[in-house]
């Protein structure tokens, strides 16, 4: 059995509990055992790094030092923001030994930072360490007929020199995972547009406008649902959806799943275990598409026709 150090972050125990619990279900099926970091602390989130450099690095560093006490080589992180803070810290500390030494004095009582643990988001872990092939092999109830728009947000793949994962502008890892589950990933150009993030609380209108565009484009792409790997994206797109609809005078009715929820569903877990009632936008309508076979559409990919060239040959 594979073992993975787990950093759930605060949202996994609150707003994104369904991410946390379905993640545990699918990893069980995939034979991965999660080991929590003992006595983990806040990653610093959006506040620390705008306040002091020391705090911005020291908070994630303490978690990294604690993770090094465990035997696993990789730390998986559920929340995109936690992942970002942890990864930025790791990259900067590894690049700059003087910085590492300086910050280490703040967390000295936990030990010395070695830089021996890899930091990955759960999406990256699922894509790179498990892979769509293995995921596909565990599918018992394929999601055929379900069209999804995979939304990555800003933090999972960017900036490229920090994450080193997938494309910063048009990532496809989640699309490949959803396809492995039998679903269809739509061509969705708003994959990495900003959802408004933490303005959800301080300036809701911004979120309504930004997330509104994402919902609109997802709908336009023909998707029945949006799939995410970030708790804040999920809450903005799902929880704010009724406000956005009211604000824009439209109706989207497009549920927002964590990719682990869809994995669990395809792996055969009963819907009752997937915490769907926690969603604001009801999921039933979208899930009803599973199993529906659409008439095969003609592939309209005609090449441009050279008017002149054709006449000459044959």
């Amino acid at each position: 059995m594979k073992k993975l150090t787990y950093f759930p972050g605060c949202s996994a125990h609150g707003t994104s509990e369904e991410f946390d619990s379905t993640l545990k279900l699918v990893l069980k099926t995939l034979g991965v055992e999660l080991e929590d970091i003992p006595d983990w602390n806040c990653c610093g989130a959006t506040s620390a790094h705008v306040m002091t450099e020391n705090l911005a690095y020291a908070l994630p560093m303490r978690n990294l030092v604690l993770a090094e006490r465990l035997e696993n080589t990789t730390m998986g992180i559920a929340c995109a923001s936690c992942y970002q803070r942890m990864k930025v810290t790791k990259v900067h500390l590894d690049e700059n030994p003087d910085l590492a030494k300086r910050i280490n004095t703040t967390v000295a009582e936990e030990g010395t930072y070695k830089g021996s643990v890899n930091v990955k988001s759960m999406l990256q872990f699922a894509y790179e360490d498990i892979g769509p092939g293995t995921i596909k092999s565990k599918v018992t109830k394929p999601l055929t007929g379900l069209k999804v728009a995979c939304y990555y947000g800003c933090l999972l793949t960017r900036p490229k020199n920090i994450t080193g994962f997938d494309s910063p502008e048009y990532p496809v890892s989640m699309d490949r995972i959803c396809e492995a589950l039998g679903a269809t990933a739509t061509e969705f150009d708003y994959k990495t547009e900003c959802c408004g993030a933490s303005f959800s609380i301080s300036n809701t209108e911004v979120v309504e406008s930004l997330s509104g565009k994402i919902l609109e484009m997802a709908k336009e792409s023909g998707a029945h649902a949006i799939v995410v790997a970030c708790p804040l994206c999920q809450s903005n797109l799902d929880m704010r959806q009724p406000d956005i609809e009211k604000h824009q005078g439209t109706r989207y009715d497009i549920p927002v799943f964590y990719f682990t929820q869809l994995m669990a569903l395809a792996f055969g877990y009963p819907a009752g275990q997937l915490k769907f009632p926690r969603h604001i936008v009801p999921v039933e309508g979208a899930l009803a598409n599973i199993g529906k076979v659409e008439p095969e559409q003609e592939k309209v990919k005609k090449p441009i026709k050279a008017v002149a060239a054709e006449s000459e040959v044959e």
């Binding site: 494309s167 048009y170 441009i304 050279a306 008017v307 060239a309 040959v313």
Partner: protein
């Protein structure tokens, strides 16, 4: 007794601001061999040189030291001043107190002055041991090699050949013409590119002084200025050009279709093909990578339909040699691949094309008969967005430099679109409009009025698809707002980049190239067409991005340089080269291994003492030696001496400080 004159230059403020020049003069005057020392604002100017000439005569100087800029800059100038005063020019020493002192120690005038003094002391001491040297004469092969058959190579070849100097023009593709042959009309006058280019192509083919070698590559260049030998690989064309009449039966019948490079892959060509109907030579070649006969031994249709029996599937690559005296490098440019612009959906959206693809579409002999179409559905676009600086001026994704031509050709494209699709509208996203050139700004201004194109100053941040339209979102910095344009077609003005083979070619020619892969000129301002290697010149975009007028000017300049080089039957060569003393040479031949120019060969000389036995010694080829001194450094028996840098000279320098 040596009588040295020292001339210290202010170089305007370049030296004088950071080095106390009068103090340097006072200091060198204390050296007993220095009989005359003076400072002057511009020593390289005519009055400055006059001071040197007069002092040589008046003070009966035996050597001269000029403390000024790098010898690479003005050594020749000052040597000439010595000659004019009747003195051997090699009795000059240059103390480089600009690049080696004032420019690099701008924060410490005292230290810079002291260093300048040291440099002068060394130069004085060295000059005392200088010997009179005389230029060497070497014979010249009066034939030029031009590499690349675009407009740069064509112009250089024609100008050289018109001076009745034979030219070998080597082109890697089956036809000459280069990128210019792909263009529709040219800025700023909208001349038809084909109409002004193809007559020149024909001139090349019919010129009695030009040997055109298409479908070929230069493999090796050995020798030295005036006496190069080039190895050229003629790639197998599988078509006998002597018997082929270019009738076209073969390519009409060929069943294999391959993306057509000439049309940027928009349509297909055959496996046996001429790149375009106006090709020179107008003879087809077989593309060995795609021909089924060559790959699998099946087909042979072209041979069957060739009435002249010109098809020869057994043809092999052929290596030929040419003796030449000078080389013009004119390898042109490549277009930057815009793939890194993922936020634009490059590669995902078929209706995003590059400028050269657009150029082919609007071209009268293009794949769509001169009408731009959307690659996705073949419809004629109404709203076209042009985005400039794709890869250019972009340190994050592309390259730092400005590609120079994109502002102008994008303006041209808005006009061409306006001409071809009357109810269309152009939107141009730009950073700056760089229209420096004769008639350029006027061209842009007029186009903006005539086409009523919308110019939006700002970068595009995203392109996404909405229905069958492309939504282009960017900033209009002049109103400080984000704008979105609904486009049918997006045209990217991709950066000009150096040909990817340039570094390899530079290595085999022995010239240098910059970090981008462009060939380096000898001096950015004063020697822009020469390379640091004597007898090798640069024309066109192989050196840096350029438009057609600049390219043609530089090509003609190359021709002038070549003609100048070939103006005598022999050529003067710097005498600062190595010589081997046979008495001391032990024949270890370490020098042969380190010589970067292959200038050292072996020789057999008698053992001496009346013996008839022979022994091996090193021998330097005067013509090839460049005087780098590597052999001197490795010679363990101190048998090699480099004129101008002899042991007494160097030891004098060291002792003086």
């Amino acid at each position: 007794m040596a009588r040295v004159g020292v001339f210290v230059c202010f170089c305007g403020a370049n030296i004088a601001d950071y080095v106390d020049v009068p103090q340097v003069v006072a200091e060198v005057k204390r050296i007993k061999e220095v009989k005359y020392a003076i400072e002057y604002k511009y020593m390289c100017s005519d009055p400055g040189q006059g001071m040197i000439r007069d002092a040589i005569v008046q003070h009966r100087l035996t050597s001269v030291v000029v403390a000024a800029c790098s010898p690479r800059m003005h050594e020749k100038t000052f040597r000439k001043a010595l000659s004019d005063a009747g003195m051997n020019p090699y009795l000059l020493e240059v103390a480089n107190i600009r690049e080696h002192s004032s420019w690099v120690h701008q924060k410490d005038k005292k230290a810079a002055t002291e260093k300048a003094m040291d440099l002068c002391r060394m130069a004085v001491a060295k000059s005392i041991a200088n010997e009179q040297l005389h230029e060497i004469s070497v014979p010249v092969t009066k034939r030029a090699l031009v590499i690349g058959g675009g407009i740069a190579g064509i112009q250089a070849a024609l100008d050289i050949a018109d001076a009745r100097i034979p030219v070998v023009l080597v082109e890697k593709s089956p036809s000459i013409g280069g990128k210019m042959a792909q263009l529709d009309e040219t800025f700023p006058t909208l001349d038809c590119s084909q109409c002004i280019l193809t007559p020149k192509m024909v001139d090349v083919a019919s010129h009695p002084y030009i040997e055109l070698i298409p479908y070929a590559e230069v493999l090796e260049l050995e020798g030295f200025v005036g006496n190069y030998k080039a190895k050229i690989k003629k790639k197998a064309s599988y078509v006998n050009f002597k018997t082929c009449t270019g009738c076209g039966a073969c390519w009409q019948k060929c069943p294999v279709k391959v993306p057509n490079e000439y049309n940027m892959g928009i349509d297909k060509r055959k496996a046996i093909y001429t790149p375009f109907p106006q090709a020179v030579p107008n003879k087809p070649v077989i593309d060995a990578e795609h021909c089924t006969m060559l790959l699998k031994g099946k087909c042979g249709i072209c041979a069957k339909f060739c009435e002249k029996g010109a098809i020869d599937y057994t043809m092999k690559d052929e290596i030929i040699e040419r003796e030449i005296g000078a080389v013009v490098v004119a390898t042109g440019y490549d277009l930057w691949d815009p793939k890194p612009y993922e936020e634009y959906g490059v590669g995902r959206f078929r209706d995003i094309i590059t400028s050269l693809e657009f150029e082919r579409m609007v071209s009268a002999n293009g794949p769509t008969n001169g009408v731009p179409v959307r690659p996705s559905d073949g419809k004629v676009p109404k709203n076209v967005v042009f985005i400039k600086c794709i890869g250019s001026r972009d340190e994050a994704k592309g390259i730092e430099y400005c590609s120079k031509i994109c502002c102008m050709y994008t303006t041209k494209h808005t006009i061409l679109l306006h001409h071809k699709v009357h109810d269309s509208h152009s939107y141009v996203f730009y950073m700056d409009i760089r229209a420096a050139g004769k008639g350029y700004e006027e061209f842009v201004k007029k186009a903006q009025v005539d086409t009523a194109a919308t110019y939006l100053r700002g970068r595009v941040s995203k392109i996404y698809k909405k229905g069958d339209k492309l939504m282009v979102r960017g900033e209009d910095a002049q109103i400080g707002q984000v704008v979105e344009v609904e486009a049918d077609l997006v045209v990217l003005a991709s950066a000009v980049t150096a040909p990817k083979d340039n570094p390899e070619l530079a290595r085999l020619l022995g010239i240098s190239y910059d970090k981008y892969g462009y060939m380096s000129e000898a001096h950015p301002k004063l020697r822009p067409v020469e390379t640091a290697k004597a007898g090798i010149f640069l024309a066109g975009c192989t050196q840096a991005p350029k438009d057609i007028p600049d390219t043609v000017s530089q090509a003609s300049a190359c021709a002038a340089k070549v003609c100048g080089l070939f103006s005598g039957d022999t050529m003067k060569k710097d005498p600062m080269i190595s010589t081997v003393s046979n008495e001391y040479c032990s024949g270890c031949l370490n020098c042969v291994k380190v010589c970067p120019y292959g200038a050292i060969v072996t020789d057999e000389v008698p053992m001496g003492f009346g013996s008839k036995e022979l022994r091996t010694v090193a021998k330097i080829n005067e013509g090839v030696c460049q005087g780098c001194g590597s052999c001197v450094a490795v010679c363990r028996s101190m048998a090699i001496s480099l004129a101008g840098f002899t042991d007494p000279q160097i030891i004098n320098e060291i002792v003086s400080i």
